[in-house]
Amino acid sequence: MQNGNLIETFDLVKQFPIGGRKFTALRDVNMKVRRGEFLGLVGPSGSGKTTLLNIIGALDKPTSGRTVVIGMDTGKLSHKESAMLRSEYLGFIFQTYNLLPVYTVYENVEFPLLLLGMEEKKRREMVISALKWVGLDDRARSRPSTLSGGESQRVAIARAMVKRPKLVLADEPTANLDAENSFNVLDMMVRLNEELETTFVFATHDDKVIRYLRRKITLNDGRIVEDIETVPSPPGQGGE
């Protein structure tokens, strides 16, 4: 962080044992991400996007190499410490939303704040404002099973954003959404990025997402093959 980088990776290698052999999913990945970036990991299926995202999120450990996230060397963190890193600084958005099925929309969004031990009144304010943000404050009492895909993903975004994390990791957030919902959700994330300076890292091969990116890192076969700045070209109001 001293140098202004939110994420730094050094010679990351990730291998998975398959049968008796080893499959290399990431090879010598070196990248730096600065605060406030809106960045995408792109590349064909199987190129290692999710694997890299998981390592950045301290959900997985590299076979070799080092990752520093928000000033913390994730390889050296205990279970408890990496849970704290995620709880305090990171937000996750999954392709399949991963809402907790027995909780209401409100309770799902409240969950990260409960983990932070925040007091009731403050929790309430933040949950309601997050739900307003994604336009779902009227669905607070609904259960996930009654929501559409777009609505579910908006709840997941509210849950990831409610604690104002420094970094949001989003794995294929639009894969299950139609075009209109995708653009909706992306517009929302751009707004969060601009207003709160939240850093976004996507893993995606969705063109709709790619149009919004300001930086694109292309992976192929576990290697970074391209790392370029791009000019976002979001569609006009109402999509195309």
Binding site: T50, H79, A83, M84, F92, Q95, T96, F111, L114, L115
Partner: protein, 392 residues
Amino acid sequence: MLVLKLALRNIIGAGLRTWLNVVVLSLAFVLIVWTQGFIQGMQEYSQRALIDTEVGGGQFWRPEYDQYDPLTLEDSHAPLSPALRKLVNDGSATSILITMGTIYPGGRAMPALIKGIDPSQKALNIPAGMLGRVSDGDIPGLIGQRMAKTTGLREGDFVTVRWRDVGGTFDAADIRIAAVVITDMPTIDQGQIWIPLERLREMLRTPGEATLVVVDKDTATVPEAGGGWIFRDQEYMLKEIVEMVKSKMVSTLFMYSLLMFMALIAIFDTQVLSIWRRRKEMGTMMALGMMRSRIVALFTLEGALHGFLAVVAGAIYGLPLFMLSKKYGFPMPDVVDDWGFAIPQKLYPSYGAVLLLGTTLLVLVSVTLVSYIPSAKISRLKPTDALRGKMT
């Protein structure tokens, strides 16, 4: 606190499934307590009844006497020792003389125990006083309702009885049924006929003798009898029934443990077999920054709460049930007559603290274990594995 709050949220959120589990589990809980209380009540009753009608405060036996072998009766009689005579004269004990005989109700021969009892005795709850009803020369006899049924004898009937006296000589006489006694106790009823002690002594030519001497149950200290008489205390006399009831308790407990097991399977199913949904839930919670130990605690507590709710629910509908049955008793069907011990017309179950607490503990501990083990297993997965399957 957080974990408790979340666990409550989880089980309330799970709605119907939670209630189903709780209902099944509480049913198992109530049934276990109910049946065990029932049997415990039965034991208490039959012990009391046995003491009242048979055991008293213990019995003095002849050394040859074996209560399960009628053939030993021939040698099991002797005059009372001075100590015993004093006890009997004080009204603290009563003599009983027993012999094997044959009776001929309606011309059929059947073996019967002929028991001599003092019509004025107070030690046992046997209405021997009714033997005084027949005043003329007839030998009066008392039988129980089961004996009346098997022999077809009724009050006022005569029945011929044949016996052997102490010298081995056969003799016969008619006994007139003075009364048919309604009793819960098959042991003072089936296959036996009660007549006045002095008459039986005359018939056997054994004046002043007895087979056993029953001590009144209120007698504080029982003296040494001397003269070869052996004292069998209550514990000895009740050993068999206590064991019988115990085995009954174990076998019914086993039955209802099966029910309990089924309830546990239902919980097990919620906690384990829906592993996919829950596994993803756990992975999601890990990704959101929840610590493993807390996740395990959460899922364990969730299961334990099922047990807790089941106990509470069980108490809500069980306690009034227990209370009412304890107060008003429970009418017993006749079929259980062949259980081998006294079955009252109405049973008053008995629910001890050990039973209630023990069953509560059983429910709580087993439910908690069944929840802890799988949660601990799943939580050891890497978060990515826990999340996987859907997240690519």
